[in-house]
Amino acid sequence: MISRHKKDDTMSQHMRTLAADERRSGSAGPIARLVDVRRHFGQTAALDGVSLEVGKGEIVGIIGRSGAGKSTLIRCLNGLERPDSGEVHIEGREISGLGEKQLQPLRRRIGMIFQHFNLLSAKTVEENVALPLKIEGVAKSERLRRAAELLDLVGLAGKARAYPAALSGGQKQRVGIARALAARPALLLSDEATSALDPETTRSILTLLRDINRQLGLTIILITHEMEVVHSIADRVAVLDAGRIVEEGAVWKVFADPQSEVARSLLQGIRPQLPEEIAARLSPARGPEAVLRVDLAGEAALEPLLADLAATTGAFRFIHGGISRVQGHPVGTLFLGVPAGEPDLSRTVQFLAGRGARVEVLGHVVGND
């Protein structure tokens, strides 16, 4: 009970600070805004004209393959990287022209967590968490009190005196999160924070981040190469490829209807795919059965579509697929085997398209099962 109280206390303090900050800045403008940011390393463009806005309280995922420019992008937001051109606004202030000294106070408003945690091995857990406050010049007793609160918040109250080497990966990242929150930042940057963790630990860290976002109203920008991460916590996603944002939107919309080749390929592991043995037997030449891919989202996924299809066009085969929920929106992909003869096939496609589904004829099955 005591710890629960402490936690609530921490939370409400955070809320007050955040509310005060809002009054000070006097606007609900974006926390971070990038305008046509470019950054080259030699001949290669790491960022090739990136523009992005992130509003207060949002969780935005930036996803891309390795080498897409994600790391450079997130580092432009706290001035660890300096763009060659373009503007970076943090809480309304243009920062790309600031010097190292001027960036220092600003970076205290931005927490950052890392793939390899980056905890100082020579310091205890509580000293690590308290370090941002030491930099700020907070008195020792106050820093340790705050570190204890934060360790409580991330569920590591008993580990204050331990050294990082004694912790598991998930625990290290919790310390990293506590440390990033110590100076009460307005924005949290997450640099592949779960990429070095196993799936179960990843889930628990993502849940923690989601809770922090909800309870403290903290804005989070995370970069990742895993669609799973974006799927579990982000509100909005930007797909980065070769230094450009090729697609951006609400996570469920991008999941339901990815426009870019990169987004489709990154979604492969998480969306239903046509089973390989059937894919191997697909041919463009007409056969007895056509295989359709049917993508559904929103209202269309809630209706008794398959029953209606059967009633309208007769027998078909349900090969693979399912409907899952992304941000509370149903998003589904179904693979159906339907009679390939005309006019049956055209009627089926028309019926499905008329019900708001996206239909693609993948090919025809040759040979028998």
Binding site: N78, L80, K101, L103, Q104, P105, L106, R107, R108, I110, G111, M112, F114, H116, N118, L119, L120, S121, A122, K123, L131, P132, K134, I135, E136, Y163, P164, A165, A166, R179, A180, A183, L189
Partner: protein
């Protein structure tokens, strides 16, 4: 051994301890900052300054490439300026320190370079200044290597101090040469070697234990 011999022996032991200790402390005090300067001014360092880096590197290499026995003699004017005399134990501390400082600087440099750049980035990201990075990251994270390197430097100084006999500094090495070698007093020679072995082992043991206590990098 006669009691006069034993007195001489003890005096020599004290001279060796004094030379090693004093020049060790001085080389630590100047060598660690020099090693830090070499790291932070290098390409990609937190205070990149390639010209300064090259100049410092050249000075360090210059001193390191001169054999100690030559340095000992060549530095006599400097020694006289600093210690007021060019002979004796205190006079020897000057060239020993000047030789050990760049030596230790290079050893410290290696440990400082091994600090994970991610840790520096993390502290930069939380708004830390360069000084904060030196104080909170570079030095504490490299501390096991800094101490291990200092142990190596001290052991090297024990050996180098034997040459300081050339300028009348005394010490165990000088005793071994003058009595053990030149006068064929094997007992003195054996005793000196035995004491040196014990001394070096003790230094190494203390150094290793300290490193073990400081190293938090593994559970």
């Amino acid at each position: 051994m006669s009691s006069a011999m034993i007195d001489l022996f003890l005096r020599s032991l004290w001279e060796t301890v004094l030379m090693t200790g004093a020049s060790g402390v001085i080389s630590f005090v100047f060598g660690l900052p020099l090693g830090l300067a070499l790291v932070v001014t290098d390409r990609g360092g937190i205070s990149e300054n390639l010209w300064l880096n090259r100049i410092l590197g050249a000075i360090v290499n210059g001193f390191r490439s001169v054999p100690f026995i030559i340095l000992l003699v060549a530095l006599i004017p400097v020694t006289r300026l600093i210690a007021g005399t060019s002979i004796g134990t205190w006079a020897a501390i000057v060239p020993l320190s000047i030789a050990a400082t760049p030596y230790y600087a290079r050893i410290a440099e290696v440990s400082l370079r091994e600090v994970d750049p991610g840790l520096i980035e993390a502290v930069r990201a939380m708004g830390g200044s360069r000084w904060t990075i030196v104080q909170e990251v570079l030095v504490p994270e490299a501390m096991p290597g800094i101490v291990a390197g200092f142990t190596v430097t001290l052991v090297t100084l024990v050996g180098a101090s034997a040459m300081a006999g050339a300028i009348g500094a005394g010490g165990l090495g000088d005793l071994a040469i003058r009595y053990g070698y030149q006068r064929f007093e094997t007992t003195v020679m054996v005793a000196v070697v035995a004491v040196l072995i014990v001394m070096v082992c003790a230094l190494q043991w203390v150094g290793d234990r300290l490193v073990q206590r400081l190293d938090r990098r593994s559970a």
